[in-house]
Amino acid sequence: MNWMEQIHIDKVQTELNRFLNKEVYVHLETTNGAYASHFDDKAYNVGAFIRNAKVTYQHAKIVGINGAYRVGLKMDIGWVYAEGINQYEVDNQNRLLMAGHDREGRLMVTLEISETPFSY
């Protein structure tokens, strides 16, 4: 099984560049879970995801230090942005999967890029 590894900026930058000016599918998501306000009545449940957004980006960059990275994809008429990324992998379908997990291994944010649609 492929395990995600810690972000290596140069390696991830190379992977981001691989998709430049191509029509790609993006999965972008952030969540603090469906139970946040159940366990803490002062907390809010917040989350959003978009799966298989079809985009083309001309420019991409990963920025950050010490396990807290941001990724921005610049498109003709807008941006794709994710903050809190700390792990990545290129899976067996050559998709670039980036994610941020908390100390308990729970997913907080993920940005994934693929030339073919993600399963739905």
């Binding site: 998501e29 009545d41 995801f49 899976d91 308990e104 291994g105 729970r106 994934e112």
Partner: protein, 218 residues
């Protein structure tokens, strides 16, 4: 004695935490149990600890865990193929009709599901509501009893004490094994319980030793 029990929950592991002791009791009595699992928990947050799953591998991993858990429980499994987090946006009517069709085939005497509006996760609430709706649409003479499980912090205040309270301590071992079959999901909870308490066994008993339900009034 029940004839056939159908459990209707949206996520792999809902059956483990919610009803695996009760299910084990029924199975020991030789009563067939079928689990209708709505989704594969595709959008779960727990990726194992340390993480061994990602958003794309999680469905396949959880599917295997679910099949394993159903082996532990010795129950029949039907996976209904909805997508995690989206059940409340599906047509209630369509989901209810589909469940009704399955129930009419199985002809259970008892259905276990979540209590709508008192089950915290939107999928729990929506799927519970669809299950209740499905049963309410059945021929009155053929309607199974429904046990609805409430897990909201306010359910006792809002609904009163549950009328079905099953002491499942004789089946705790099977319950733990069912939970542990959901490896990607269980690690977080188990380590939190170990952290929170000196006496792990006692905590398990206190937190997991009873399973309670409200008999639905149609």
């Amino acid at each position: 004695m029940e004839k056939h029990v159908v459990v209707i929950y949206p996520h792999p592991d809902d059956e483990a935490f919610g009803a695996s002791g009760t299910i084990t009791k029924f199975r020991k009595e030789g009563i067939p149990v079928t689990y209708l699992c709505g989704t594969l928990g595709e959008m779960g947050r727990n990726m194992g600890n340390p993480t061994f799953a990602n958003r794309e591998t999680l469905p396949e991993i959880r599917k295997k865990e679910l099949i394993e858990a159903c082996k532990v429980l010795d129950v029949e499994l039907q996976m209904l193929g909805y997508r995690d987090k989206t059940l409340e946006f599906e047509s209630r009517d369509e989901v209810a009709e589909r469940l009704k069709g399955i129930l009419e085939k199985i002809e259970p005497s008892l259905v276990i599901t979540h209590y709508p509006e008192h089950a915290v996760h939107p999928d729990h609430n929506a799927f519970g509501a669809a299950a209740v709706e499905a049963v309410s649409r059945m021929d009155k003479n053929k309607r199974p009893t429904v046990w609805a499980q409430a897990i909201s912090m306010t359910h006792i205040q809002d609904l009163g004490e549950p009328d079905i309270v099953n002491d499942i301590t004789p089946y705790l071992k099977t319950k733990m094994n069912t939970i542990l079959a959901h490896k990607s999901q269980a690690q977080g909870m188990i380590s939190k319980m170990k952290q929170d308490s000196e006496d792990f066994e006692a905590t398990v008993k206190a937190r997991l030793g009873t399973e309670s339900f409200y008999t639905w009034k149609f």
